[in-house]
């Protein structure tokens, strides 16, 4: 919890939030801080720690139900250790799990990749000065503002067998039946909805790039592609990485879009969240919790890898550190540009 504590302290005293406590702090100050933070910690413990621990605890149990002579359910919960987890690797439930795991990963990789490309293109388009720019920016936000379940319904309508997608393509593709087409339908709808998110975040990153950098590049004779590769992309990289990370964490939990667009229980688009939902719907809370815990670990692992390997700067810690260093060295103010 100390990590959370420092996180929450940071906005008030930014430089003191990292590394060992600054030498000037008295013991009384620390006690005061703990006291002031305790309500927050209590709320966090209630809404985060308790459900998480409860889910892990639940995943070690299994309902043992049977019928007695009169046809009534005899029910009890038995401690089964890691059996719920072992089931994820073998037998029929194992197959379903692996399929859902594969789908989740597949959707995450494909949608985030396409969204990033499309989002970058959108940001580049919006970053130019032209007439009607603010109108374009506002209109690009529309898909993001539509609730996912509603956009699922809209796309379901588009993709139904006599819908507009088939009549435009002149095809007879059964988008909502099991098969590759349904995967494609989910990817299209998801990219349509979330590319604007990446686009807008990246746009914000692009707008803080000073114009002089581009002017200098122009004088040096750099073309549009060279400017993109050597100035724009490196400078928006921190923003882009954070945007991509958020999208990945979101995509790994994908539930409502395939659920509404294609329907529950279709193997082609079943994700881990849908599987956990289905299990809890069948009152098998033990295995549902096991699915949820595995999903949680998977998402956490992806996040760790992303931060460690690609160095996504989520909390802004590096920028702060760099600023401090820069101030200490008393050099230029443009720390972002020198990196």
């Amino acid at each position: 919890m100390t990590g959370t504590a420092t996180l929450h302290r940071r906005p008030a005293k930014p430089p003191a939030g990292h590394g060992p406590p600054s030498p000037g702090r008295t013991p009384g100050e620390g006690r005061m801080a703990a006291l002031l933070l305790s309500p927050t910690l209590l709320v966090l413990a209630l809404v985060i720690a308790y459900p998480l621990i409860s889910a892990i605890h639940q995943s070690l149990y299994r309902a043992q139900s049977g019928l007695d002579a009169d046809g009534y359910v005899t029910e009890g919960e038995a401690f089964v250790g890691l059996a719920n987890y072992a089931d994820l690797l073998a037998g029929e439930s194992g197959q379903r799990f692996l399929n859902a795991f594969g789908n989740t990963t597949f959707f995450t990789v494909t949608t985030v990749l396409l969204e990033t490309i499309l989002g970058l293109a959108l940001a580049l388009a919006m970053n130019r000065a032209f007439k009607g720019r603010s109108f374009l920016r506002a209109s690009i936000l529309v898909p993001w503002a539509v609730p996912t379940a509603v956009s699922g319904l809209l796309w379901r309508w588009i993709f139904q067998s006599d819908g507009i997608a088939n009549s435009l393509l002149g095809s007879e593709i059964l988008w909502t039946a099991e098969g590759t087409a349904s995967k494609l339908a989910v990817i299209i709808a998801e990219v349509w909805k979330t590319a604007p998110f990446i686009g807008l975040l990246v746009l914000a990153g692009m707008q803080i790039i000073p114009g002089e950098v581009y002017e200098a590049a122009k004088i040096d004779g750099a073309g549009w592609w060279r400017q993109l590769g050597s100035i724009t992309l490196p400078l928006v990289k921190p923003t882009l990485l954070v945007a991509v990370l958020f999208r990945m964490l979101d995509a790994l939990r994908m539930f409502d879009l395939p659920f509404v667009l294609i329907g529950p229980g279709k193997e082609s688009v079943e994700t881990l969240s849908m599987l956990a939902w289905d299990e809890s719907n069948q009152l098998r809370y033990g295995s549902a919790s096991a699915f949820a815990v595995v999903l949680f670990l998977y998402v956490a692992a992806v996040a760790i890898v992303f931060v460690k390997v690609l160095g996504a700067d989520v909390t802004g810690a590096r920028q702060l550190g760099a600023k401090r260093k820069a101030r200490a060295a008393d050099t230029t103010e443009k720390t972002g540009a020198t990196r």
Binding site: P51, S54, R253, G265, N281, A300, A317
Partner: protein
């Protein structure tokens, strides 16, 4: 430290499920120690205000019945608690309330397929034998409200399949009567589809998307071929020749082009559109379509051109599956006497007849279907009664959720050609045996 920020986000993703799990935990801890109550001796005591928990009734007919009750019983007022439209969510809320033994829900409106699950878990009380006039009700509706010889619900409304056909095309092809069997239907289609006005049409459609509707269509096909999905003793019987013949009707329908090629994506609504736009000659669907198909405002191309009859079978008329709802009393409500009295009042023939003024939901009472005043308003009622007299409930099993899932899974694989009919039925039998063995 930075890591914690991410997990922070992801913890939220699991929170909802974890909460559900926590609720489950509290619920299950208590039921383990439950005493074995004798089935029929449940005492209905306690009077006072109660809550009636139900799906929405957009016709307002249910509200009218409740208002009438409240006017006559000022000290035992009934409050209508509305549940979400999705049946899955209704079931989930009802179960969660039962698991925490909440006394908020007094009278429950249950789908007929949940009957066994709720009864076996003691989430509803067995009703006294004389609670409802079962002898005046359609037998299948009473059967669907019974668990192991105990009546556990009072039939509220019911539903059965209708076979919609294009009368104009039958006449044009010189066919005197609508088909009664699949073979007759195929013959009729051969003649009709040769007509110039039927160019591009398909013969028949039901609902074949992977959904509860597929369980309905599969059960009907099997029953129409003389088989059962689960027999009277609760044993699965889908490895029989009859079940095979039933599923083959549907599989061959796709193979031979009898059904539209996109029928695998059809639910009730898509089927309605296909029939209404003149794409299919025959349609299996529920009665609620009747009014939109006969709309004369130009939205329906088939208004005045179609008729209804019972669904076709193999050797004769087919067997419809049964839909509908029952009312049941929660064991956790303190005012059980009021709840029972209210159910008696609400499901009485008098109230059922009054509700027919506003709602087209089919009542459980057989003689209302022959009432001239009712038939004048709802001309399909006599046909529906025939269908209901013959109807079979869907598999009556405690674990209905997993059962219907297994049926959908395997039937869908057979229809799409992913598995052959025998392999699909073999796998279905194995899955159902595993479910019912528990």
């Amino acid at each position: 430290m930075r890591q914690r920020r991410h997990t922070w986000q992801t913890i939220l993703t699991t929170t909802a499920l974890a909460t559900a799990a926590a609720i489950g935990l509290t619920g299950c801890g208590g039921t383990g120690a439950g005493t074995k109550a004798s089935a029929s001796a449940a005492a209905f005591e306690g009077k006072g205000p109660i809550n009636y928990v139900s799906s929405r009734d957009s016709s307002g007919a249910a509200n009218k019945s409740i208002e009438e009750w409240n006017a006559a019983h000022p000290d035992e007022k009934v409050t209508f608690i509305e549940l979400p439209d999705s049946a899955d969510q209704q079931r989930q809320q009802l179960i969660q309330n039962a698991q925490i033994k909440s006394d908020t829900f007094s009278v429950l409106n249950l789908d007929v397929v949940w009957n066994s699950e709720f009864a076996a878990n003691k989430w509803v009380l067995p009703l006294p034998a004389d609670a409802v006039p079962t002898d005046k009700m359609i037998p299948a509706t009473v059967d669907a409200a019974t668990y192991r010889d105990n009546l556990v619900g009072a039939p509220y409304y019911t539903d059965g399949a209708l076979f919609y056909f294009r009368q104009d095309l039958l006449t044009a092809a010189g066919i005197a009567a609508p088909p009664k069997t699949w073979d007759e239907m195929k013959d009729a289609c051969t003649k009709i589809l040769a007509l110039p006005e039927a160019a591009g049409m398909s013969c028949y459609t039901g609902q074949f998307d992977k959904n509860e509707a597929l369980t309905v269509n599969f059960s009907e096909a099997v029953a129409s071929a003389g088989g059962t999905v689960v027999d009277a003793d609760g044993k699965p019987t889908v490895d029989t020749p009859e079940a095979r013949e039933g599923l083959s009707l549907l599989v061959d329908g796709f193979k031979e082009g009898l059904f539209p090629s996109d029928a695998i994506t059809y639910l009730e609504e898509q089927g309605r559109r296909a029939f209404q736009d003149g794409k299919v000659v025959f349609l299996r669907n529920w009665p609620f379509l009747y009014s939109s198909l006969s709309a004369t405002d130009g939205s329906s191309k088939v208004a005045g051109k179609f008729g209804v009859t019972s669904i076709p079978g193999v050797d004769g008329t087919g067997v419809s599956t049964l839909g509908g709802r029952n009312l049941a009393v929660s064991p956790f409500t303190p005012n059980k006497a009021t709840a029972l009295e209210f159910i008696k009042f609400f499901t009485s023939e008098e109230q059922a007849k009054k509700r027919l003024e506003l709602s087209s939901r089919a009542p459980a009472y057989a003689d209302l279907y022959e009432d001239p005043a009712v038939v004048a308003k709802r001309p399909f009622f006599p046909t529906l009664l025939e269908s209901l007299q013959n109807a079979q409930p869907r598999p009556k099993v405690v674990q209905y959720g997993t059962t219907t899932k297994a049926i959908q899974e395997e039937a869908y694989a057979a229809l799409t050609g992913e598995k052959d009919t025998d392999a699909a039925l073999g796998a279905m039998q194995a899955k159902l045996e595993e479910i019912t063995a528990k």
